[in-house]
């Protein structure tokens, strides 16, 4: 007989391969960061760490990061819980449409939003500020977007959907009889909300809030666009600033590793807290049978609240998007939006003439495509080993699989620089490869999440039934498992491809003279005052993103129908 007592089979090879990928792509870069932060010339560098942290600008950046993340978390949670409650527990008109609209900020790049808000609310030239000052003959602007408040407001607009998704999902899955039994016990809606609904939602709210905290703490785009002008730095922008200003000197990179270590530690703590809350709070509140949930009748407040929601979407989504498109069409920035000032020249110029933007579009396109394809395939393999295979040493892979979730983009970039700039025999610095490797590390979490979710849906018995019918392991995989998880793999592909297309945080630390990406190009054009070109490239990016999401919806829509039959 073959196969019964072999020590090293296909399962072990797959496990080893998966472990190797995660070690090389994620684990070693992170270890290098910690190592370089702590060890200098073979000795512990505690004094160096203390020195870096006690520099006023570093200390201020840590404080800013905490203040911004704290405030963004509070604002996003309030917004997310309120809107989630509104669309899933009241008789708000056009609920389904509103629900989709509240998710739109998710797909828009926040740094493009920040550029738009800069156009609208920068203290001198901001359109809204100018209009406001003209209207009342004032010297003072309505609102200065170059401030902590501005950064917090813009980040919250783009991060609140994390809370919204968690809470509206939980509200919809909750067993409505939990609320009905409170009602029949004599409690009114306010009491029920306070004493039953909110406590039951608390784990979901906390999970969403911690996700916001995690993203905000490590967020680069918005503070980079809005903070630099007013010398407001958070940890990621300070890392960029130090490395950029020093031209990549090792002292700057060392300071970066110390700041990165703080970020990774904070992220790990946040994820740990989230995990604790989710396991401790795993109440069985899933409905037994489908009963329509109790809906609060808004009565007179129905249309005021609908107007409020529509106004919110109009201001946070529509206004910045329209601003970008309009500025993209202006002959020169600062002209009024009248038809004779409009031209398509900017668009054709950045698409067909300007080398910087042409290169950037091409680079982003093939880098995202390659990264999405490779990450999706490798992610599927890793998920398969984690979810489906019984093999010794799997715990190692499970642990490594958690790493990508806790590593911010800035940290990945730094780790990749340490790993691939020649110290270990391979020098990818200033090539597209280094960005490619960084993208894989950055987006592995997305691939693992959606493919493992898809694999968990496929019961073991389906594969076993195929084996019992005489299929080999490979045939069962090919004919049963793969077709069933195909929608999950497609989702993973697009979940990586679209964000990678407009990635900024990681690329901005890794780009070389010929390897700028769309995100880097927009950022650079904006910094250089080429506002109309920045807007034009942003408009192109937004257009691609919107079309991309439409395509996803078409694809996932049709595969869902196919999967249901």
């Amino acid at each position: 007989m073959t196969g019964t007592d072999r020590k090293f089979g296909i399962a072990e090879i797959l496990l080893l391969f998966s472990v190797l990928v995660l070690v090389i792509v994620v684990a070693v870069p992170i270890l290098l960061i910690f190592w370089n932060a702590v060890v200098v010339d073979g000795g512990l560098n505690i004094a160096g760490i203390v020195k870096v942290l006690s520099e006023p600008d570093v200390f201020q950046a840590v404080v800013n990061s905490l203040v911004i993340a704290g405030a963004v978390t509070v604002v996003s949670t309030v917004l997310g819980v309120f809107f989630a409650w509104l669309v899933s527990r009241t008789d708000l008109p056009f609920k389904e449409t509103m629900k989709l609209l509240f998710l739109v900020p998710f797909m828009l790049p926040s740094f493009i939003g920040a550029i738009a808000w800069k156009m609208l609310l920068s203290p001198r030239a901001g359109l809204v500020n100018k209009w406001f000052m003209g209207l009342f003959g004032l010297e003072q602007p309505l609102f200065n977007i170059y401030s902590l408040g501005g950064i917090i407001a813009v980040e919250s607009m783009y991060l609140f959907p994390f809370v919204f998704i968690q809470v509206s999902g939980a509200l919809e899955r909750m067993d409505p009889t939990l609320e009905e039994s409170a009602r029949i016990s004599g409690a009114g809606l306010l009491t029920i909300t306070r004493r039953v609904t909110l406590p039951l939602m608390l784990p979901s709210i906390a999970a969403g809030a911690l996700l916001v905290a995690l993203y905000s703490l490590a967020h680069f785009g918005v503070p980079a666009v809005l903070g630099t002008e007013a010398a407001i730095f958070n940890i990621p922008t300070l890392i960029y600033q130090k490395i950029y200003a020093s031209g990549g000197r090792f002292e700057a990179i060392r300071a970066g590793t110390i700041l990165s270590s703080i970020l990774v530690t904070a992220a790990a703590l946040i994820l740990y807290a989230q995990n604790l809350i989710l396991t401790a709070g795993r109440f069985q509140v899933i409905a037994g049978k489908s009963v329509r949930p109790m809906l609060l009748k808004l009565r007179g407040l129905k249309y005021p609240l609908l107007s409020l929601s529509v106004l919110y979407i109009a201001i946070t989504v529509l206004l910045p998007t329209v601003t970008i498109f309009l500025v993209a069409l202006l002959r020169t920035y600062g002209l009024s939006f009248s038809l004779e000032n409009m031209t398509l020249h900017n668009i054709t110029y950045i698409l067909f003439t300007m080398k910087l933007t042409k290169d950037a579009i091409w680079n982003s396109f093939y880098l995202s495509l390659a990264a999405a394809l490779v990450t999706m395939l490798v992610g599927t393999l890793i998920s398969y080993v984690i979810v489906k295979m019984r093999v010794r040493g799997k715990f190692l892979l499970e642990f490594l699989g958690l790493l990508p979730f806790s590593v911010p983009g800035t940290v990945i970039a730094l780790g990749v620089i340490l790993m691939w700039s020649g110290k270990f025999g391979v020098n990818l610095y200033n090539t597209a490869w280094i960005i490619f490797v960084a993208y894989i590390a950055r987006y592995m979490a997305f691939a693992l999440k959606s493919t493992s979710a898809a694999l968990e849906q496929v019961g073991d018995s389906l594969e076993e039934a195929a084996r019992a019918c005489g299929a080999t392991h490979w045939q069962a995989m090919k004919d049963v498992v793969l077709p069933l998880i195909k929608p999950g793999m497609m989702a993973a592909f697009f979940l990586i491809f679209l964000p990678a297309l407009r990635e900024l945080t990681t690329s901005v630390l890794l780009y070389g003279p010929t390897t700028r990406t769309i995100g880097v190009a927009i950022y650079a054009l904006n910094e250089d005052g080429e506002t109309v070109y920045a807007a034009a490239l942003s408009a192109v990016a937004l257009f691609i993103i919107i079309v991309g999401h439409w395509v996803i919806k078409r694809i996932t829509g049709t595969t869902k129908i196919g999967g249901a039959s």
Binding site: L178, E180, S181, A182, R183, S185, G186, L202, Q284, K289
Partner: protein, 360 residues
């Protein structure tokens, strides 16, 4: 007896589906009434209208002489003001509250003083056997205990009306029997009116003073005591819903009854029921009410035999008709392809419309 809960011309539609079609019902004080019917027949919708979770499309609901729901007056007393106890199928106990806090909740809502809450909660916990686990959380307890929490919570404030929505169907069969008994005990002690929704006829039989059998649209098929529902099913629907059934077409010759197309098998010994000329009614009987004998009776051949533990389930072919028979396993056993005779007893007759024909 005075009516305690009254439903008058109650109708409820969901889109084009009439879930409850002009239902009229009166429930006496202290009565235990079961709404029995297949799933989707409208019994749960009826209960939810009673509780106040659903509005009415027509009609009104009264408790005593007080209107609590009325389409005509467009008046609906909200559920929290109805002072009803209610127990749900999926328990609906709050996972974030301890057993004690779950049961104390309605009392806290009613603004009772601390000592009063403690006293009444302890009482409800005692009667439901939960006193020892009062500080536990629901997730640490079994399904039976969760349903006890729900029961304790609904009786803690001494409601006069108790609504139960298939409260036992998520429990295992043994627990179900225990809980049936406990619900009955609680009713004796507190003397509330019970309206009990179930699709399980055994549950309805065991608990109720009165059973209302419903078909789709909450159309009442029979409204009677459990014994009458079992012994004298008002129509074919009730007969087949209450237990296993044979519906046998018959023909008449020389004043005798034969199974259709099987005159050579011999006559069924029973009096011919009254019927319209040329249209004999359908014979209905329970598989357990048929005796199998080696000689005599209506002759047939055993085609299938299945052991179901205590009983053996036979299929006997009589001419073109298949008859289902169930006998105790300790009685003489017939094998497949054996000849046997069937002796029918406890016969019921239903006419073409399905209505009961009185036995002569």
């Amino acid at each position: 007896m005075t009516a305690h809960v009254i439903l008058r011309n109650v109708t409820k539609r969901f889109g084009s589906v009439v879930a409850v079609d002009n239902l009229n019902l009166e429930i006496a004080r202290g009565e235990c009434l079961s709404l029995l019917g297949p799933s989707g027949c409208g019994k749960t919708t009826t209960l939810r209208m009673l509780a106040g979770f659903e509005d009415l499309d027509e009609g009104e609901i009264l408790v005593g002489d007080r209107v609590i729901s009325s389409r005509f007056k467009n008046y609906y007393l909200p559920p929290e003001k109805r002072d009803f106890g209610m127990v749900f199928q999926a328990f609906a106990v709050w996972p974030h509250l301890s057993v004690f806090d779950n049961v104390a909740f309605p009392l806290q809502i009613r603004g009772l003083s601390r000592p009063e809450i403690r006293e009444k909660t302890t009482k409800a916990l005692t009667y439901t056997g939960l006193l020892d686990v009062r500080d536990s959380y629901p997730n640490e307890l079994s399904g039976g205990q969760k349903q006890r929490i729900a029961l304790a919570r609904s009786i803690s404030f001494n409601p006069t009306v108790m609504l139960l929505d298939e409260p036992l169907s998520n429990l295992d069969p043994k627990m179900r029997e225990v809980m049936r008994f406990e619900i009955k005990e609680l009713q004796k002690r507190f003397n509330f009116t019970i309206i009990y929704v179930t699709h399980d006829q055994a549950e309805a039989m065991a608990l109720s003073d009165r059973i209302v059998v419903m078909d789709f649209g909450a159309l009442i098929q029979q409204d009677d005591t459990p014994v009458n529902v079992y012994l004298r099913p008002a129509n074919k629907f009730v007969f087949s819903f209450i237990g296993l059934s044979n519906f046998l077409a018959v023909e008449l010759a020389d004043g005798r009854i034969y199974l259709q197309g099987a005159r050579e098998a011999g006559p069924v010994t029973a009096a011919v029921p009254p019927h319209a000329p040329g249209k004999p009614p359908t014979l209905a009987c329970r598989p357990a009410e048929i005796e199998m004998v080696p000689t005599g009776g209506v002759r047939g051949v055993v085609t299938r035999r299945v052991l179901l533990g205590d009983i053996i389930d036979y299929r006997v072919q009589v001419g073109p008709t298949e008859v289902r028979v169930q006998r105790n396993v300790r009685k003489p056993v017939f094998s497949e392809e054996d000849q046997c005779g069937l002796v029918f007893s406890a016969l019921h007759w239903y006419d073409e419309s399905g209505a009961r024909v009185p036995t002569p």
